[in-house]
């Protein structure tokens, strides 16, 4: 497993950088609108209505954007978290943690692809 992880390290680090870009550029606005403004009633009534949200999300650009918004920050978080755990716990559990975190990221990336296709 360790060799497999080492083989994929360039892809993982590429996703790490991409995840920072996408996550930092777009996620704050997304979180502010859906998680803070909407629950507090600051948005116009139909801003996040189903018809509008579905129309935005189901467009080609919407599907690609949603997929990127899920996958890249997920791999960024998984890789970063792995290295935080390395800092705190050392090398002993690294293989297990890396397998768990990258496995979660891989599984959820597949689910993300299914989710945007089925919109």
């Amino acid at each position: 497993m360790k060799r497999l992880i080492l083989k994929f390290e360039p892809v993982i680090w590429f996703s790490f950088g991409g995840g920072f870009m996408v996550g930092c550029l777009l996620l704050p606005a997304y979180v502010f609108v859906t998680g803070i403004a909407a629950p507090l009633g600051w948005l116009p009534a139909d801003a996040l209505a189903y018809e509008r949200a579905h129309e935005l999300g189901a467009s080609l650009a919407g599907r690609v954007l949603l997929l990127v918004l899920i996958v890249l920050p997920l791999w960024n978080g998984a890789n970063h978290l792995r290295h935080v755990l390395l800092d705190f716990g050392g090398q002993a559990r690294d293989e297990a943690m890396a397998t768990l975190l990258y496995g979660l990221a891989a599984a959820c990336s597949v689910l993300a692809l299914i989710a945007v296709v089925r919109l």
């Binding site: 996550g23 998680g35 996040l48 290295h83």
Partner: protein, 123 residues
């Protein structure tokens, strides 16, 4: 382990920056959940928006927002320029001082564009 690790001296911001990665994972999973509910139909989507009104979700989103903004500030204005190689192929790296204003402008533009669409200002 260095004696100042993890929360003394310059390790404090390094450790907090690392801990913010939890919010990258959690928020990605929440976006996935939202997209899944959107695909399940109107009642699932409405139920999700209602769940987001729960005070626990609102508190989580405040924390996630703070973590994402902190990460963005540290990544764009402190780390990105320093991490660029002096050359990429035939191209020389631009002066380091150019990176923060350019990245800051990109951040503002992307945020405004996203807000304008999600807020319903653009139909």
């Amino acid at each position: 382990m260095p004696h100042k690790f993890p929360f003394a001296g310059r390790y404090a911001s390094y450790t907090v920056f690392g801990m913010c990665s939890v919010f990258f994972v959690l928020q990605s999973l929440l976006v996935l959940h939202a997209v899944w509910e959107l695909g399940d139909g109107e009642s699932a989507w409405s139920a999700l928006l209602e769940r987001f009104e729960n005070p626990l979700y609102v508190m989580y989103h405040y924390a996630a927002f703070a973590a994402l903004v902190y990460t963005g500030i540290r990544f764009f204005f402190k780390l990105f320029a320093k991490s660029q190689p002096p050359r990429i192929g035939p191209l020389r790296r631009p002066p380091l001082a150019l990176f923060p204003p350019l990245l800051g402008a990109a951040w503002v533009a992307a945020t405004v564009a996203f807000l304008v669409v999600l807020w319903g200002i653009v139909p």
